[in-house]
């Protein structure tokens, strides 16, 4: 489904990501974890088309997408739920859902909006409210629902649990599990290593812009902790 090969992304002369390679198979849920500044968000941004890679290839179903525009990549079936949610606060909740379907011209957009409201009852309750008035957890639900409105085949999630109350974190991870069960391929960037290891089919640990290890489940947690900062620091993951 997604193949990243030798990805390098630079900010000026600084390489934020260097020679990162990994694959996400059809229907898989893959984790990408690492400390702040390790290059997780940069990797997702390159896949989504926000940042142009300096080197390497990014393929979706065998087709090269690196250096394409974000609006072209979302048409390939790749939707990003960005860090910090970035819902449109001046638009209503309903408009946020509608705008998530910008790439579609079929007549099922209306019924999809209904389905989202059933899945996330809070979105029905606040449908006509400015999205900026929602709480953090509600905004996260809206951000995921907005991404789903494009009917993506690959969903990129950037720290969906960040800044949420523990109960909301549970709900978000449960939702990601449901989405995977529905057949959506997921690439999940997280700080919450333990939860990610439990959920994901495979988890890549990224440290200082490079892949440090590949973990397959919670049993790898100790090794992941060591890899997190290249073994220098003890962190709770």
């Amino acid at each position: 489904m997604l193949r990243v090969d030798g990805l390098e992304v630079r900010y000026g002369r600084l390489s934020a990501v260097k020679a990162v390679s990994f694959e996400v198979g059809e229907g898989e849920c893959i984790g990408l974890i690492g400390a702040n500044g390790a290059g997780k968000t940069t990797t997702l941004s390159a896949i989504a088309g926000i940042l142009a890679p300096a080197n390497g290839t990014i393929e979706i179903e065998g087709e090269e997408i690196a250096r394409q525009s974000p609006e072209a990549i979302v048409r390939r079936g790749v939707a990003l739920v960005p860090e910090g949610r970035r819902i449109f606060t001046t638009l209503s909740v309903e408009e946020n859902l509608r705008i998530g379907a910008s790439i579609r011209d079929d007549d099922e957009v209306g019924s999809d909006i209904e389905r989202m409201k059933e899945r996330f009852p809070v979105l029905r309750r606040y449908a006509d409210t400015h999205a900026g008035k929602l709480s953090g957890g509600e905004q996260q639900q809206l951000a995921i629902a907005r991404a789903l409105m494009s009917r993506p085949r690959l969903l990129l999630l950037d720290e969906p649990s960040l800044g949420l109350a523990p109960l909301m974190v549970d709900a978000v991870f449960e939702l990601i599990g449901q989405l995977r069960a529905e057949g959506i391929t997921i690439l999940l960037v997280e700080q919450n290593g333990r939860r990610t290891l439990e959920l994901a089919d495979r988890t890549y640990v990224i440290a200082s812009g490079s892949l440090a290890m590949t973990a397959t489940g919670p049993e790898d947690l100790d090794e992941v902790e060591r890899a997190y900062f290249g073994g220098d620091a003890a962190v709770e993951v």
Binding site: A48, G49, I50, S69, P70, E71, V74, R75, A79, L80, P82, R86, F88, T89, T90, L91, E95, R98, I99, G100, S102, I103, R146, A147, S150
Partner: protein, 292 residues
């Protein structure tokens, strides 16, 4: 009382023209972070359009001039601003200065430095008196056109898919692209709207001044910036409020200043603007925005 209504009518005429000038400038800044100094030259092109097409009937000439300005706005975006999109605000600003001077000088080459007079129907320069209040035809025209344009813009922004895409782009351009909104389409559309507004403003200015000349865009564009700055750059409601304050302030100083100071009215008006910006540097309505 009659006098007060008279001042109100004068202020409304001025404010509606200012709103037509400020709105497109705020719209483009909101979407792409560009302070389009060359907006004044779109007005100039509209005025020359009225001069060129004057041979046909006025409504047709006005329509053709409007189309001409919209085409010019789209061409301006395509040729000058698209290549520098995403650059620093300074680069964008200097580009718009360059476009502005280029167009002024092209106009000088084609039409010369003497104003070209444009005939407009005499009814627009007549004054009607309603209950002691004098209303110029051009005031009715300004207020009417401004209300139609602003109302149309509000309906367009609120109730069309393209308007929703514009609002989303103004808030977070990158995120808008991530949901699939085409950057080129939104920016071209915004320039087309700004061109239409410039065409309407050109019509009012030609009716007021009776002529078209190469540097006629300068004063309107400065007024547009001042009004948008007062309201808060990038905010449409702010631009409207700024335009109303500037219009009302101009009339107020005109009325209150002693005769010998009246020629320095603008110094007082812009002194007031300066004070406002000292107190609220972000403008009356502060807006959040992200650059393209």
């Amino acid at each position: 009382m009659t006098e007060l209504i008279q001042h109100f009518v004068d202020a409304a005429g001025l404010a509606s023209l200012y709103a037509l000038l400020a709105l497109p400038v705020a719209l483009i800044y909101g979407i792409m972070g560009l302070i389009n100094f060359a907006h004044g030259e779109l007005i100039m092109i509209g005025a020359y359009g009225l001069f060129i097409f004057a041979a046909v009937t006025l409504p047709l000439a006005a329509f053709l001039a409007l189309v001409l300005v919209i085409v010019a706005a789209l061409a301006m975006e395509r040729a000058a601003f698209r290549p520098v999109r995403g650059s620093s605000p300074e680069t964008l600003l200097v580009t718009s200065f360059a476009v502005s001077f280029l167009l002024q000088n092209v106009a000088l080459m084609i039409f010369g430095s003497r104003p070209k007079s444009v005939e407009t129907p005499s009814v627009l320069s007549q004054t009607v008196t309603v209950g002691g209040v004098q209303v110029e035809g051009v005031t009715i025209l300004s207020v009417g056109l401004a209300l139609v344009c602003i109302g149309g813009l509000v309906i367009f922004m609120r109730h069309t898919a393209f308007g929703m895409a514009m609002r989303a782009s103004a808030e977070d351009f990158t995120m808008a692209r991530l949901v699939g909104i085409r950057a080129n389409a939104v920016i071209s559309g915004t320039f087309a709207i700004s061109g239409a507004a410039a065409g309407v403003a050109a019509f009012i200015l030609v009716v007021q001044g009776g002529s078209a000349f190469a540097t006629m865009g300068l004063t309107p564009v400065i007024i547009a910036f001042v009004a948008t700055m007062m309201g808060g750059l990038g905010s449409l409601s702010g631009a409207l409020i700024g335009a109303c304050l500037l219009g009302a302030g101009t009339v107020a100083f005109d009325v209150m200043l002693p005769t010998q100071l009246r020629s320095a009215r603008d110094a007082f008006v812009y002194g007031g603007v300066l004070l406002l910006l000292l107190v609220r540097p972000q403008g009356i309505v502060a807006s959040r925005r992200e650059r393209v």
